[in-house]
Subunit: 207 residues, 2 copies
DNA sequence: CAACATCTCGGGTATAACCCTTAGCGACCT
DNA sequence: AGGTCGCTAAGGGTTATACCCGAGATGTTG
């Protein structure tokens, strides 16, 4: 429904043409590679692969395709994840259609577009934290990967199987994560992961 | 942006006419009362008053106006709150525009509309839980108390000390909680607690 | 009264998690 | 070439959880 609405809006503007749509992250990558659009509008919350991971993979597979993230999340922690994923722009779903149009125009010409309040908040946090883009710098990529799985309720053994490495290695990662974050419970790690946008909340008990 | 998209979609259908829009729950009630539409499409997540509360108030103030809830949440927990709020229909944002059109037609003629998968899931859970509606109600007061402490990262021993009862009792509560909710990890329990407002995320730093 | 739910403990066993330590290997930097 | 860091792995021991039972005390409700 949201996609149809967006298409309807975009098709009213002569300078835009919608060449495809996708319901999942996997489908988004697939269609983006075959249809080769100038710009992809990516939703963060999708069934299956989420938008950030899809963005990351798409950026790797087709660096020429620009990606704008659409999200209901206005959480400032999210913004760094979005940048890290390689997105060229971010538009909140609360934003006006004009903002979206300007975002598309910007990224198409090679510029980036982040709505003023997002940019301001991100910079504010950068200044406040002395340049550290916390909390993502506290953990290595592998540790974040493990943390996400822990917060999703996986056991060490399940994580080890999923990542194809030993259980003891997972235990080591787990210890290092807990030590670095100074959080010593699964509940705390889960809250940390949610608060920092590493996992989504509504994944549990979905229909 | 989402609203404009919806308007764009709906205005293509001759039998619908969009008479107004609102950004917040308060504005939604106000405009609904002045514009007196046949049907209100209400988003759950809005700044200010949320869609459920707004629905409840609007239903009370103007029982003749039908309300359809739109939501990204496919969480089965939500469905009972939606019914309780007095909504006549529920359409997921993942749904097609056709589903929305049918929903509007249905509620306008006095019927209700809940998408098949939602209805099925809700009934399934009703049967499974023996008629008790919300997972929230599945737990006793004591179990909720324990759940909160678990989700806050406390160990069984800490909880036992805090509540002044034995550790084995806490273990029993823990087992019963996990069995009733069908969640078998601390991470899952924590997410459940957050999703149901039992505990708060301290770093909910919205922009 | 009797049935039921709740809260409270307990035994027992298997599994998982936690804590401290060491260590090989590759990448990267100086 | 040496140092640092990250990923991998493991030993050994302690503690915590998960899951299986049963059971007494209490209050509520039919």
């Amino acid at each position: 429904m949201v996609r149809k609405g967006l298409q309807s809006c975009l098709s009213k503007e002569d300078r835009f043409r919608v060449v495809g749509e996708a319901a999942t992250g996997e489908e988004a990558i697939e269609k983006a590679l075959t249809l080769a659009p100038d710009v992809v509008l990516m939703d963060i919350s999708m069934p299956g692969m989420n938008g950030l991971e899809a963005t990351q993979r798409l950026r790797h597979a087709a660096p020429g395709i620009k990606v704008i993230i659409l999200s209901v999340h206005n959480n400032r922690d999210y913004i760094f994840r979005i940048i890290q994923a390689g997105a060229h722009g971010y538009v909140s779903k609360e934003a006006s259609t004009d903002a979206l149009f300007r975002a598309i125009d910007s990224v198409q010409t090679g510029q980036t577009f982040f709505s003023p309040e997002i940019a301001q908040a991100a910079l504010h946090q950068l200044v406040q934290s002395g340049g550290k883009k916390e909390p993502f710098d506290q953990l290595t990529a592998r540790e974040r990967e493990v943390l996400v799985l822990i917060a999703e309720g996986k056991s060490n053994k399940e994580i080890a199987t999923k990542l194809g490495i030993g259980v003891r290695t997972i235990e080591t990662h787990r210890e290092r994560i807990m030590r670095r974050l100074d959080i010593h419970s699964v509940a705390g790690l889960t809250k940390f992961a949610i608060a920092n946008g590493l996992i989504a909340l509504e994944s549990e008990r979905a229909i």
